[in-house]
């Protein structure tokens, strides 16, 4: 069962999205800031990371950099910023995909499946 690490400082989003993910059969761990995201990553070794871009202190971009330094786990950026520059920067930081808030849960699930499939294809 794929394990998802969900990182977002918006508690309501974490809770609702975690529910939908679990319903879909994923194992879910949540983190509400950059530091605990990296901690949880080491502890849980998730198969995919959903990462909010804008968080206080250590933001999503930095988390992405740090994780990319030693792992090529699929990372999906979530962001409420809609500027193209941010999209590019997110992808440059090593994200595999990029979803703009507000998004549809169904669409997000489809994208998670896609990055997982792509990743498995690469590592196989």
């Amino acid at each position: 069962m794929p394990h998802v690490l969900l990182v977002d400082d918006e508690a309501p989003l974490c809770e609702s999205l975690a529910y939908s993910l679990k319903k879909e059969g994923y194992e879910v761990t949540t983190a509400s800031d950059g530091h605990s995201a990296i901690k949880q990553f080491h502890k849980q070794a998730p198969n995919v990371i959903l990462l909010d871009l804008m968080m206080p202190e250590v933001d999503g971009m930095e988390v992405c950099w740090r994780i990319r330094a030693f792992s090529n786990v699929p990372i999906l950026m979530l962001t409420a910023k809609d500027q193209d520059v941010d999209k590019v920067r997110g992808l440059e930081a090593g994200a595999d995909d990029y979803v703009t808030k507000p998004f549809n849960t169904r669409e997000l699930l489809a994208r998670i499946k896609a990055v997982l499939r792509r990743h498995q294809g690469e590592s196989a």
């Binding site: 400082d9 609702s16 910023k81 809609d82 808030k101 507000p102 998004f103 849960t105």
Partner: protein, 442 residues
């Protein structure tokens, strides 16, 4: 122009030469006539010799029949047998004095001549012909012409050079400025205009640079504002959407989750509508569309309304407020001022530690009421102080509990719309003091 100058110069010179020659001829003809009357050919010859000069001046005396009596240039004249075709001679023999320019008798140089009849008592004694060469004068004149032409050429050259330089030194910076203005117009604010000239042009360049910088900062502000608005609107909408999706995916059947998720939707909707309110307020205040209903109001009543509204929150945090407000009447819109006080009080409570105290005081100087709101919280770092009144500015250390950063921006705009001012000061660890001024009832 220069042709005209040269021509006048030439004409003047010729004229004076001719006058000289004429005076001369008149004087000489008198003395020659005297001698001729006495038929003293020898004397005639000696006079002619004395006044003639080999290269320049030739004097000749002819008798009434036109044959040569005396000449200052015997070498040449010996070869001539018939004097009548020589310019002026025939006319003079007929009694008319003639002046003009002609080639030399046997040479090719231009000469100025005069032929003068000499008469005594109506009797024709002979003709005096004087000619002077123009060769030297012409040579000199040619030299003068060359000198003038050279000077003229040089002047023209120098003028062209100077005016070209001048034109270039003017037109190049203007062209640069034009290009710069076009770039700024397109929204490229990054480059600077550099013009190294100490005149009005570089002042203009400085002003253009300043304008570009100002536009750049306005542009950046606008972008930042839009990015912030976008972020702050998208976040609650996204929370609501994901929560509704979760309910649809089955949470609705789990009573505990269902209640919590509905609560989330309620809160996020409230957050969204609060934000929309704030943004609209800000926009209206900014655009000056908000009409203030200004009237004399008592400061105490506005402040106690604000405190009453915050009572529940203060009790929750066990924060107390100490009020020391003089009985003052200010000119203002009570609803708007209430909003400003609420925002300030909200911050004071939010950034206070539990069990702390908040002090509100008001007094007045000559024209203004001065109100201060002081808390005992963590205070505001010095580096943040100048920026806290900006839209969406929140200090980086402030975490989730702080809002979006519109409270102070709105408060400032309200106070400024009243013709007042608001400032913040803070010493690290000793809380923050916000001081406002408002116009007193006159």
């Amino acid at each position: 122009m220069s042709g005209y100058i040269l021509w006048t110069f030439y004409a003047f010179f010729m004229q004076s030469r001719q006058t000289d020659l004429e005076n001369w001829a008149t004087a000489l003809s008198e003395s020659v006539a005297d001698v001729l009357e006495e038929k003293d050919t020898q004397r005639v010859q000696s006079i002619v010799q004395r006044y003639g000069a080999p290269d320049n001046i030739t004097l000749r005396v002819l008798d009434a029949q036109g044959s040569l009596l005396a000449t200052s240039d015997p070498q040449t004249d010996r070869q001539i047998t018939n004097w009548l075709p020589i310019p002026g001679v025939l006319d003079a023999l007929r009694g008319r004095s003639v002046q003009g320019i002609a080639k030399g008798v046997l040479s090719t140089d231009d000469r100025l001549y005069i032929a003068k009849p000499m008469t005594r008592n109506g009797q024709m004694l002979g003709v005096l012909r004087i000619s002077i060469t123009l060769e030297q004068f012409q040579k000199q004149f040619v030299r003068v012409i060359w000198a003038i032409l050279a000077a003229l050429g040089l002047t023209t050259f120098v003028c062209t050079l100077v005016s070209d330089r001048l034109a270039r030194s003017l037109s190049k910076p203007i062209e640069m400025m034009q290009n710069f203005a076009i770039r700024v117009g397109r929204g490229q604010f990054d480059d600077k205009l550099v013009i190294r000239q100490s005149n009005e042009l570089d002042q203009l360049a400085t002003e253009l640079n300043r304008m570009s910088e100002r536009l750049k900062s306005l542009d950046e502000e606008r972008r930042a504002f839009l990015a912030n608005v976008s972020h702050e609107l998208r976040t609650p909408v996204s929370n609501v959407q994901v929560t509704i999706d979760a309910l649809e995916r089955g949470a609705v059947d789990e009573p505990e989750l269902r209640d919590r998720f509905f609560q989330t939707i309620k809160e996020e909707t409230k957050r969204l509508s609060g934000l929309i309110h704030d943004l609209l307020d800000l926009g209206r205040l900014e655009a000056g569309v908000t009409l203030l209903e200004i009237q004399a109001i008592t400061l105490q009543s506005v402040i106690s309304r604000a405190i009453r509204a915050m009572e529940v929150r203060m009790q929750a945090k066990n924060v107390t407020v100490q009020v020391d407000v003089d009985d003052l009447r200010v000119m203002g819109d009570s609803e708007r001022l209430l909003q400003a006080f609420l925002n300030l009080l909200d911050n004071a409570i939010k950034y206070s530690n539990p069990n702390a105290r908040i002090f509100i005081a008001a007094s007045c100087n000559k024209q203004q009421a001065l109100i201060s709101i002081q808390d005992q919280g963590g205070g505001i770092p010095e580096t943040d102080l100048p920026r806290i009144f900006e839209q969406f500015y929140t200090t980086s250390h402030s975490s989730k509990q702080s809002g979006v950063g519109l409270g102070l921006a709105i408060a400032r705009r309200i106070i400024e719309a009243h013709g007042g001012s608001i400032t913040a000061s803070s010493k690290p660890g000793q809380g923050a003091i916000f001081t406002l001024s408002l116009p007193l009832e006159s």
